[in-house]
Amino acid sequence: MAAQTQARPHVRSMLPPAADEAQGRRAGVVTRTVVMVVDAAAVAATVGILYLVWAVVRFMRHPVDFVWPTVTYGTVVVAAGVTCVLYLTVTWSTTGRTVGKRLFGLRVIGRDGEPLHLIRAFLRAGACTFFPFLLYWAAVSSQNRSVQDLVLRTSVIYDWRSGGRAARVGAPARAEADPSGDDALGPGVDVAPAVTDEADDRHPEPLPRLDGE
């Protein structure tokens, strides 16, 4: 833990010390597993919603002889796989955060700390969708990196702050909840100054902070 201690910035933080130290560092396997489960549930829910939408459309077209559409196992797997790849690709290439990662304060970043490029995000999404167990190499890796991370040179870090850019190592989280309110943290996230070069124009209307600012 010497490296972590050395990387501690002298920045005011309202986070608990354990969480404060972890900001900007690669996440461990437990959190990522939970996030994967949440994301899988999100994908399953999406597939189910798609099925319902399909059924509604069929009902509207043939209301008299409506029957629930029958789907095969293969169809479900394909639909779920496609949905998952698309879902992960879009989220990782935009904010780097899926629903599960947003809930648990994780973020996928590239080498430069920015969200992944679309192709890299797509490749990583495919790898994670079809070879999810490769994630557990992170438990063995001395750098908490899965096989996908090693191959695609990506990282999954703790980043409790909102926004599209990764927190620096040890940088405290910042209550910059999205105006849309889809941040699971909401306005209750601990307040602390973010990195000084943080681009605030991403969030033109930040929610009021707890310290009244």
């Binding site: 833990m1 010497a2 490296a3 972590q4 990387a7 910035p9 608990p16 354990a18 969480a19 972890a22 900007g24 560092r25 690669r26 996440a27 461990g28 396997v29 437990v30 959190t31 939970v34 809930l103 648990f104 304060g105 970043i109 590239g110 080498r111 430069d112 700390g113 438990a139 063995v140 001395s142 750098q143 908490n144 990282s155 870090i157 703790y158 409790w160 990764a166 927190a167 620096r168 190592v169 040890g170 940088a171 699971a184 943290l185 909401g186 306005p187 209750g188 996230v189 601990d190 009021p208 707890l210």
Partner: protein, 377 residues
């Protein structure tokens, strides 16, 4: 003040004093005296012929009065050589001087008296007033006559003295003088009685006269003097000021009366309050303030009573978005839960990593930092 021309009609008769003839002055046996000094009151001894300086005084003491008279007569016998003037000429000169000095003084006094009389009569004639001309001419003529008469009298007295002196010296023997003195004594006592009867009235008249004369003379004299220059030249004002007891002087001043007469508003308007305040160290003043004592003296209840708490509370409630606060509170509770779950996840990650590292006998701690996100990046 108007200056009264003192003795203007008769200046030529009085001032300057007539100086004695040079040959006469050189003949005055009183060697130390100058002619100008003769203008002062001459001592009686000057009028008497001095005895010869060469004679010793003890010889004179041994002579009887008959011998002195005989010696004087022999000394003044005609035909004898005499270097100095005759004693009678000297006496005449003295008398003339006395007459002139008296005349000058008389003229000054008369002029002041005339001015005083004019003022008391309500007349303030100018210096060129034609009404004064006959009076001035008459005055001048009278004074001229008086001067001439004085000269003639002086000469007559000198001549009479010269003629009478031998007779007087003979008549001055004691038997003759005894009878004369008795007669003269009775006459003097009569005259003295007459004077005493009139003394009170004369003194009263003189005093009333002097009461008017003295201010007039003083005023005229002061008009001729530049008192300011005189004081500057003669008076050490600093020495006088050093002896003034200013404390006692100030103690006699009624400061309150002065302050009552002050227009304080005008005074305050002229005060540079801003400049004064700029020089005041308000921080130092504030440091010396005992805020607790000030607070103790505050009647907070009265202050609160003056506040319209109901309207104030209404304004506060209007400004506060209570529903938003409630929503924020619930969100805060949710976020608190999420935070706890996140922290649990982080701790679980560390625990698993530690277990795996122990299984793998890995002694180095994991490097979970991202190179691109270094704090010094």
């Amino acid at each position: 003040m108007e200056q009264i021309p003192i003795g203007r009609p008769s200046h030529d008769n009085v001032v300057p004093l007539r100086t004695p003839q040079p040959e006469v002055v050189t003949e005055i046996p009183v060697g130390a005296e100058t002619p100008t000094e003769t203008t002062e009151a001459p001592p009686p001894e000057v009028a008497r012929p001095e005895p010869a300086a060469a004679e010793p005084e003890d010889d004179e003491e041994e002579l009887s009065w008959e011998e002195v008279v005989a010696r004087d007569a022999a000394a003044e016998a005609p035909g004898e050589p005499d270097d100095g003037p005759a004693p009678n000429a000297e006496l005449t000169l003295m008398l003339e001087q006395i007459a002139q000095v008296g005349l000058g003084l008389t003229v000054g006094v008369v002029d002041a008296v005339a001015g005083s009389l004019r003022r008391t009569a309500g007349q303030e004639p100018g210096p060129d007033d034609p009404r004064n001309e006959p009076i001035e001419v008459l005055t001048g003529a009278a004074l001229g006559a008086a001067a001439t008469l004085a000269e003639l009298m002086a000469k007559a007295i000198g001549a009479a003295t010269e003629a009478v002196e031998p007779v007087a010296s003979v008549a001055a023997n004691p038997p003759l003088l005894g009878g004369l003195s008795r007669g003269a004594g009775s006459a003097l006592r009569f005259l003295d009685g007459t004077w005493k009867a009139k003394e009170a009235g004369a003194r009263s008249s003189a005093e009333s006269f002097m009461r008017d004369l003295v201010p007039s003379v003083t005023t005229n004299a002061l008009d001729q003097i530049d008192l300011n220059a005189l004081i500057r030249e003669r008076v050490d004002i600093n020495a006088i000021a050093a002896e003034i007891d200013l404390d006692a002087l100030i103690a006699r001043v009624d400061i309150n009366a002065i302050v009552d007469r002050l227009d304080m508003d005008r005074l305050v308007e002229r005060l540079p309050i801003e400049a004064v305040l700029a020089r005041v160290d308000l921080n130092a003043v504030a440091d010396q303030l005992d805020v607790n004592r000030v607070a103790e003296r505050l009647d907070l209840e009265a202050v609160v009573a003056r506040i319209d708490l109901a309207s104030l509370a209404q304004e506060v409630i209007d400004e506060i978005d209570l529903p938003e606060i409630i929503r924020d509170s619930s969100g805060a509770m949710a976020s608190e839960t999420v935070r706890e779950v996140r922290i649990l996840g982080i701790e679980a990650d560390r625990f698993v990593a530690k277990v795996v590292d122990r299984i793998l006998h890995r002694k180095r701690a994991r490097d979970t930092s991202v190179p691109g996100l270094g704090e010094n990046d």
